[in-house]
């Protein structure tokens, strides 16, 4: 089991699209290491023949008729109203590159 290092925390933060300050990286490293050390006890449990708990609801192929709902959840205008920046009927964002 790899130990939690500041480099691992920084990599994981980037994957999670989180900008952390150096203090936050240091604090997270210490706290996560302690938590995962405590949680490592589950590694000793024999699960060689146990399936994962993929299905917790007991429902299989829950479907509804493939027809348009007569009502809509919210109007187009209402959905745009909360956006920080809009242009015509679209939400405006910064350039990717």
């Amino acid at each position: 089991m790899n130990a939690i290092t500041p480099e691992i925390v920084a990599t994981v933060a980037a994957l999670g699209r989180l900008k952390l300050t150096p203090d936050e990286v240091e604090s997270a490293t210490e706290k996560l290491a302690g938590i995962l050390d405590n949680f490592s006890s589950i590694q000793a449990i024999d699960t060689a023949t146990t399936p994962p708990a993929d299905d917790v609801s007991g429902r299989k192929n829950a479907a509804r008729p493939d027809v348009s709902a007569p009502e809509t959840l919210a109007s187009h205008a209402a959905l745009l109203e909360g956006a920080p920046a809009v242009e015509d009927t679209q939400i405006k964002v910064q350039s990717i590159f």
Binding site: V12, R17, S41, T47, P52, V56, S57, R59
Partner: protein, 464 residues
């Protein structure tokens, strides 16, 4: 005339009086206690003037601010959603309104429901009404404090790993986590999607049963909801418990549990035995594993659920950034609090290449073992009972910088969450001068047996 203390009594009082009483009580008590993030005085008064029918006709209900309402804001107690106004309401809100209830406001919580004390709210802590130097518990601390302090008779919370039951125990009210799939999660901001459930918070067991009858049931908009019919839970409140088999896991009374808390719970169980129930000692060896299993799965699911928050579609903290990726990173860095960031880090780590098999996949397999352990136990007993929390309400600030200690506070509630079974907390007495709850759990979709046992306990302790 004093304010009614049950929904049944309140149904005989005009709605405008109930609303004015709630608003007055909130004004008197909430400046310090801070149960509410937003109070809908105008809309509640307007609703009180309309004719109301249904099992909750005219009853003011407080809503945890994780549940979308078209009234006011839905913030999840996060800076990320500080200005968010939902364009639609959750299914549970629609059902409450159809039953005649009046939505009186949104209550405080740990940010995105991640926490056990409501200290992680971005908008201030909710204090315990019994001792304002202590926490109300969490994450549904606001809803619980609102009921416990007499601001409202009923509230909705959410429970992922104990977020209704633990604060209910710490504040001395009834709080219910239904079976996973019993209540629709449509319109509820997601924390752990295989664990989250909406549940009632009330002063009496029968009121909780009444509220659950209203909100439970299949919803086409939530494919995980069961199509099993919803029983009349209120019919089971008052049923005799002669011969009811109550399983008592020895692991729930380990050295980590405060001795005075354990004594209160054992006294309650002894009273149930004297009234005709049969106590059966159980051993559930995987109890200790439930904490890591729960947090690894919950944080993994949370990291996925929180990935949608990019600050582009709804108002977010203003940040300067050179491009879109930098905007994401800065917005999320600013908008999320420390526990939410910790959840994203832990969850992303547990799911990432090279670590996912050892952490997330192993947790998922152990989850299957825990579920089987409870299914086996319920072949011998009708309900399982024990303490809700290892301790009474702790001092504000005492665990805020120790996340592991905060996680271990949920050690007795997370097993039932992981197994997906229903469980509730009902007031059982006091230790160190503070409330202690008795936790009662039932098999999947057998909430009626849980209510039967809890109502019997409540009747035995009435007047104590």
């Amino acid at each position: 005339m004093g304010a009614p203390d049950t929904i049944e009594a309140a149904l005989r009082v005009p709605a405008r009086e109930l609303v004015e009483h709630s608003l007055e009580r909130i004004k008197e008590t909430d400046g310090d206690m801070h149960a509410f993030l937003e109070v809908f005085s105008d809309s509640a008064r307007a609703e009180a003037e309309k004719k109301k029918t249904g099992p909750l006709a005219g009853i003011p209900v407080a809503i945890k601010d994780l549940i979308c309402t078209t009234e006011g804001h839905t913030t999840a107690a996060s800076r990320m959603l500080e200005k968010f106004q939902s364009p639609y309401e959750a299914t549970v809100i629609t059902r409450l309104k159809q039953a005649g209830a009046i939505i009186i406001g949104k209550t405080n919580l740990d940010e995105y429901a991640m926490g056990s004390s409501t200290e992680y709210s971005a908008f201030g802590v909710t204090k315990n009404p019994h001792d304002t130097t202590r926490v109300a518990g969490g994450s549904s601390g606001g809803s619980i404090a609102a009921v416990a302090s007499g601001q409202v008779l009923a509230a909705l919370g959410t429970d992922t790993g104990g977020s209704i039951r633990q604060p209910a125990s710490l504040c001395g009210v009834v709080g219910v986590k239904p079976t996973y799939g019993r209540v629709s999660r449509f319109g509820v901001i997601a924390y752990g999607s295989s664990l989250d459930q909406v549940g009632p918070v009330t002063r009496t067991v029968k009121d909780a049963a009444r509220l659950l009858e209203v909100i439970a049931g299949h919803d086409e908009r939530d494919a995980t909801t069961s199509d099993l019919p919803v029983p009349r839970y209120t019919d089971y409140c008052g049923k005799p418990i002669m011969g009811l088999r109550i399983g008592v896991p020895k692991e729930f009374f380990s050295e980590g549990v405060d001795t005075d808390v354990a004594a209160v719970v054992k006294t309650a169980l002894a009273a149930l035995e004297k009234a005709g129930a049969k106590l059966v000692e159980l051993s559930l060896p995987l109890t200790a594993a439930a904490v890591p299993v729960y947090f690894l799965i919950a944080k993994a699911e949370a990291s996925t659920n929180l990935a949608r928050y990019d600050g582009l579609r709804f108002s977010a903290p203003a940040v300067q950034s050179a491009n879109l990726l930098e905007r994401y990173m800065k917005t999320r860095g600013h908008g999320f609090g420390p526990e939410v960031k910790r959840a994203i880090l832990m969850g992303t780590y547990a799911l990432s290449a090279g670590y996912a098999e050892a952490w997330y996949a192993q947790a998922s397999r152990v989850r299957t073992l825990i579920r089987r352990e409870y299914e086996e136990a319920f072949k011998q007993v009708d309900v399982i009972a024990g303490p809700v929390s290892p301790e009474v309400a702790f001092k504000i600030g005492s665990k805020a910088n120790d996340p592991l200690a905060m996680y271990l506070a949920d050690a007795l509630t997370v097993p039932f969450s992981v197994a997906g079974i229903p469980a509730l907390s009902v007031p059982a007495g006091a230790a160190h001068g503070l409330p202690v709850g008795l936790q009662i759990a039932a098999p999947h979709f057998k909430e009626e047996v849980m209510f039967q046992a809890a109502a019997a306990h409540e009747a035995l302790t009435a007047g104590n």
